[in-house]
C-alpha cells in the first residue's frame, strides 16, 4: 500500500503541465482540474495519517534503487502532519480562488504556478534525500516569487523583488551547507548521513555547517533580523496566495526542513548541544517581542496579520528551543493551529478586499452588518489566534508554557504569558471597527452580495478550526504526538529506514 507516495508530487506536477492546455480549450476546465487535484491531495493525506499512525516509516525507492544509491521518499508521522496541513489549506485556498482570480488575466498560469508550489511543498515534506530537499525547496520558492508579484502593479513588483533577492540568498546558503556536508561525509541520503555523522568526531566543521544551515533557514522562515521581506510580500500578494504562503509555505520550508536536519540528521538534543537550543530560544523570544510591538503601529488589516506571523513563528522557535517533549509537541500543535488560523484570516481578508476594495482599518467599520458570515468567521479566527479556549490556539500556547516550566525556564514562561496580552492588544485593533456600528462612510451600507465558493471555502476552514479546538485530545493523540515521537527519536529514523 505504498504506491500512493509519489502521487503527492506527481498529481500536482501533472496538473501544472495540463492546466495551461486545458485553459486554452475552456477556462473553467482548468479551474475544475486544479480543484480536483487539491481535493485528491487532501484525501491522500488523510490516508497517509492513518497509514503511519503506529510509528512506522513508509519507504518508497524511486526507480527501485537501494536507499544509499538512489533517492527515497520516507514518509513518517511528521511528514503526515505537514502533508495534512498542506492539503487542508490548499483545498480551501483554491476553492476561494475560483472567483477571486476573475480580476487576473492569464488564469491558467496562476493555477499552474500554484500546482508547482504544492508539488514542491509536498516534495519537501516527503523526501529522504538532502539534495532532493533542496531541489523541491527551490521549485516551490521560485513559484512563490512569481505568485507574489502576480497582479503586476508597482507595489507588488517591488515587494516581490525584495522577497526574491532575500529568499534566494537564503537558498544559496542552504546549498553551500549541503555542499560542505557532502564533502565531510560522502553521502546525501538522510538516514545514511545520520549514521555517518554519529561516527564523526564533533569537529568545528560540523558546527560551522550547522550554523550555515541555520542562517539559511532563518532567512527563509523570517525570524529577526531577516524578517523584512515578510510584511510587504504577504500584504501585496493575492489573498489566496497569502493564505497558502503564511499558512504552510513558511512552516514547511523554514521550520520543517530545519527541524528534520537538526533532530534526525545531526541528532541534537538540549543536553548535547545547549548552545544551539539557547540560540533558538533567543531568536524566538526576539521575534515574539519584535513582531508584537511592530504590529501595534499598523493601520492595515493585512499588515497586522503579517506582523503577527513574525511573532507566531517566534513562538514556534521558542517551543523548539525548549527541546523537551512538551516543547516539541507544543511547537507542532502550534504549527497546526497557526496554519489553519492564518489561512482562515487571510482568506477573510481577501473576501473583504474583493467586495469592499480596501483593507484599511478605517474602511472596514461596521463589517458585522455588511458581511455577517465573513465577520463571524473573522472573529473566530481572531479568538483562535489570541488563545481563547476551546479553540486550538489556546491549547498550543498552553503546551509550550508547560514545556517551559518543565525545563525550568521560568523567564521564558513569563514572557510567553505576557506576550498573549500583546497579541490580544493588536487583535483588538481589528476587532473594534468590525463589531461597531456601521457608519455611512461607504455610501449605502447594505449587505454585500455573497459569493458561494468564497464563503464555502472560508466556512470550511472555520469548521476545521473548531473541530481541532474541541477535539483537541484526539487530535493530539492521533496526529501530533506521533509526529513529536518521530522527531524526538532522532537516530531511530535512520535505523528504521536502513533496516536496523
Amino acid at each position: 500500500m505504498k504506491g500512493f507516495l509519489p502521487l503527492f508530487v506527481a498529481l500536482p506536477l501533472a496538473g501544472a503541465f495540463l492546466i495551461p492546455l486545458a485553459t486554452k480549450i475552456k477556462k473553467w476546465l482548468g479551474v475544475l482540474l486544479a480543484n480536483i487535484v487539491t481535493a485528491s491531495l487532501l484525501g491522500l493525506s488523510v490516508l497517509g495519517i492513518m497509514e503511519t499512525f503506529w510509528g512506522k516509516i513508509i519507504v518508497y525507492q524511486i526507480g527501485g534503487h537501494h536507499p544509499t544509491l538512489g533517492i527515497i521518499f520516507a514518509f513518517d508521522s511528521l511528514s503526515a502532519l505537514i502533508v495534512l496541513l498542506i492539503g487542508l489549506v490548499a483545498f480551501s485556498a483554491l476553492l476561494f480562488s475560483v472567483r477571486y482570480t476573475d480580476k487576473f488575466t492569464g488564469v491558467g498560469k496562476f493555477y499552474s504556478l500554484v500546482m508547482l508550489l504544492l508539488a514542491g511543498m509536498n516534495g519537501v515534506a516527503l523526501t529522504g534525500d538532502l539534495f532532493n530537499l533542496f531541489v523541491f525547496l527551490e521549485i516551490s520558492a521560485i513559484a512563490s516569487y512569481a505568485l507574489v508579484s502576480f497582479g503586476i502593479n508597482d507595489k507588488e513588483l517591488e515587494a516581490g523583488f525584495k522577497y526574491m533577492v532575500l529568499g534566494e540568498v537564503g537558498g544559496l546558503f542552504i546549498l553551500l551547507g549541503i555542499a560542505l556536508l557532502y564533502s565531510a561525509t560522502g553521502t546525501l541520503n538522510m538516514a545514511d548521513l545520520a549514521n555517518t555523522l554519529t561516527n564523526l568526531p564533533k569537529t568545528p566543521i560540523v558546527w560551522f555547517i550547522l550554523g550555515i544551515f541555520l542562517f539559511g533557514f532563518m532567512i527563509k522562515s523570517a525570524v529577526i533580523p531577516f524578517h523584512t521581506w515578510l510584511p510587504d510580500a504577504y500584504q501585496y500578494a493575492p489573498a489566496s496566495i497569502s493564505a497558502l504562503l503564511a499558512g504552510v509555505f513558511s512552516k514547511v520550508i523554514g521550520i520543517y526542513a530545519l527541524v528534520r536536519i537538526t533532530f534526525n540528521i545531526f541528532n541534537l538534543s538540549p543536553k548535547t548541544a545547549p548552545v544551539f537550543f539557547n540560540l533558538l530560544l533567543y531568536l524566538g523570544v526576539g521575534s515574539l517581542i519584535t513582531g508584537g510591538f511592530l504590529a501595534l503601529n499598523q493601520n492595515n488589516y493585512k499588515k497586522i496579520l503579517s506582523y503577527s506571523c513574525i511573532s507566531q513563528i517566534g513562538y514556534i522557535f521558542v517551543g523548539l528551543g525548549i527541546g523537551n517533549y512538551w516543547g516539541i509537541t507544543g511547537a507542532l500543535f502550534f504549527i497546526l493551529a497557526h496554519a489553519l488560523t492564518k489561512g482562515l484570516l487571510f482568506l477573510t481578508a481577501g473576501d473583504v478586499e474583493h467586495k469592499l476594495n480596501t483593507t484599511d482599518l478605517a474602511g472596514i467599520k461596521g463589517l458585522r452588518d455588511r458581511m455577517p458570515t465573513t465577520s463571524w468567521s473573522l472573529i473566530i479566527g481572531l479568538l483562535s489566534l489570541s488563545g481563547v479556549p476551546p479553540l486550538p490556539g489556546f491549547f498550543a500556547k498552553l503546551l509550550i508554557i508547560i514545556g517551559a516550566l518543565a525545563a525550568h525556564l521560568y523567564l521564558v514562561a513569563i514572557i510567553c504569558s505576557l506576550y498573549s496580552t500583546l497579541t490580544l492588544a493588536y487583535l483588538l485593533k481589528i476587532w473594534q471597527p468590525i463589531a461597531g456600528k456601521s457608519e455611512s462612510t461607504l455610501g449605502y451600507p447594505g449587505r454585500a452580495a455573497e459569493i458561494p465558493t468564497m464563503t464555502s471555502a472560508i466556512l470550511f476552514l472555520v469548521v476545521v478550526v473548531i473541530i481541532f479546538g474541541i477535539g483537541f485530545k484526539p487530535a493530539l493523540t492521533w496526529i501530533v504526538e506521533p509526529a513529536a515521537t518521530a522527531l524526538l527519536r532522532g537516530i531511530g529514523y535512520a535505523k528504521i529506514i536502513l533496516g536496523g
Binding site: 539534495f131 527551490e138 516569487y145 508579484s149 523583488f161 534566494e168 546549498l175 553551500l176
Partner: protein
C-alpha cells in the same frame, strides 16, 4: 586548497554586490555570481588527483574516475539558477516599466 578560497572569495564578492550596490542590474549580477561560486565549489568537491572524467567509453571501462555525483548535482543546480535568473530579470524589466528608474533607493513606495 587555493580553489576553495577563490570560490569563497567569489561568494563574498557576490554578497557585497547584492548588499551595497544601488543599480538593480548590478544586484542581479552579484546574485548570479553567488550562484556560480556555490556551483563551482560543489563541482570541485569530487576532485581526485590523477583521475579521469567520469565517462565510460570502450577504452576506459575500469579506471579511476572523479566523483560523478557532484557533477550531476551541479547540473541540477545550474538549471535552478537559470530559472531564478530569468525570473529576476523579468521582474527588473517590469519594475523599470512602472518606476522608470533602476535605482533601488528610488523604489521605496513601501515603508515595510
Amino acid at each position: 586548497m587555493i580553489l576553495f578560497i577563490a570560490c569563497i572569495g567569489l561568494f563574498l564578492i557576490g554578497i557585497y554586490a547584492v548588499a551595497t550596490k544601488r543599480n538593480l542590474i548590478k544586484i542581479a549580477i552579484g546574485f548570479c555570481m553567488m550562484e556560480y561560486a556555490v556551483n563551482l565549489l560543489f563541482a570541485f568537491i569530487g576532485f581526485k588527483k590523477n583521475a579521469l572524467a567520469p565517462i565510460i567509453t570502450s577504452q576506459t571501462l575500469e579506471r579511476n574516475f572523479v566523483d560523478p555525483i557532484p557533477q550531476a548535482l551541479v547540473l541540477t543546480s545550474i538549471v535552478i539558477g537559470l530559472g531564478t535568473t530569468a525570473l529576476i530579470l523579468s521582474l527588473i524589466v517590469r519594475i523599470y516599466e512602472k518606476y522608470k528608474t533602476l535605482d533601488i533607493k528610488e523604489i521605496r513606495k513601501l515603508r515595510g
